[in-house]
Amino acid sequence: MSVGSEAKTPVSGNLAHDTAVLLQRSLRHVLRSPDTIVTTAVTPIAMLLLFVYVFGGALKAVDGSYVDYLLPGILLITIASGIAYTAFRLFTDVSGGIVDRLRSMPIGRSALLWGHVLTSLVANLASLVLVVLVALAMGFRSGAGVLAWLAVAGLLALVTLALTWIAVIPGLTAKSADGVSGFSYPLIFLPFVSSAFVPTAGMPGPVRWFAQHQPVTSIVNTIRDLYAGIPVGDQGWIALAWCFGVLVVAYALAMGTYRRKFG
């Protein structure tokens, strides 16, 4: 109903303008607490150090440099922890009444959500760059060309988008600030049962089956191949399918939640 009636009043249709204004606002939030970007990167960097310098020597199953092997999974963990801040920022807007203020104004209905989602993209990119810089200092090397790097960036952006739309749901529905980030723990844990840290071949049956069929493995393998400059093959398509699949479902659920709660 509101869709049809919105068309009558052009001022409310300017989704791009309103999203830009609200994007600028929440980017300012991020700039004013740069610690969120650093905090997002700290745990993944610690894992990188731990696994490379402490466990790395004992992990004989991996050929070549373990940093190179490990980095893609660590990047996914970075995103999984970064999106918790997006959920938190959204929750703050809901509980602080900003959402109601905006809802009573003639602005694009989903502008606030898009502002937060795009901010998440920027903030996570910054954290990812930090992690990659540390990896480079630890000896990570890639023979990948510009195109492959762009493909990695594109895939990571897609993962960020998909996970961010998941994060929107608790951001809208959480009852307390403590409850808002709980959803990200399983996402952070998922790479541990994948090819991110060790090859799946050595895992016991059911665990191996899960590891080989869950999205992290195909995404990690794809990024690894791109960095190594070797053809990606089917893994790439599976990774893309997972990302788009999760993105579409999460987007639909998040928008549905928003309409239901804030029609």
């Binding site: 009043t9 300017n14 204004v21 606002r25 300012r28 009444g97 203020r101 602005i107």
Partner: protein, 261 residues
Amino acid sequence: MTTPTAIRVAGLTKSYGDRLVLAGVDLSVAPGTVVALLGSNGAGKTTTVQILATLLRADSGEAAVAGHDVATDPAGVRASISLTGQFTAVDEVLTGRENLMLVARLRHLQDAGVLADELLDRFGLVEAARRRVATYSGGMRRRLDIAMGLVGDPPVLFLDEPTTGLDPQARLEVWRTVRDLAGAGTTVLLTTQYLDEAEQLADRIAILHQGRIIAEGTLAELRCLMPPATVEYVERQPTLEDVLLAIVGPDTRPQEIGTTR
């Protein structure tokens, strides 16, 4: 656009679960007037305002603001109103000035900065303009909140308990602003706990009780509702409080009194 009534409400009902909050509210507000909605805690003032501001959907009944139906044309309503809710809704991370500019930009106004400075001046926030709102006192936040509601001069203004928590000076400033706005043709519907505020500010007063508007009129009209026995030759005119208690009676307030907030 001129409409005979700026706000028209007929038979509005709303329940939360099986708790009936609005049981058929009728109200009509003429353009350019200030109407105060009075009622005890939990009477449904905020609920009414939220329905009119398109934040909540009524169960039944009709409501139109500036000629737009809240149910079928919420976007039209939003383009004509501004809501300052009961609880302050400001961005803590931004500065006061940035908060005002944010609203101005979202309303597609030119010269957002000039507009912001003007309002900061009017609400005594010039000193604090470039400080983050997180460092503001409660009253400063509320003043900023009200100022944000004035950006863009919307023709219909909803103020839900605008002066709760303000010092006397800020309260007078809000009153003066409301009078100026009404003088310039803005329609204001405000809710208040302060009977003197309604007396001071409102052209008409509506009393919401047990889900209905049980009395509506000018202050003088409401005073006539006083039972004759209490009209005596005393120095003092009966205040609205006397009127309210006379109409409602001291014992018929809703159950939750004293437990809210």
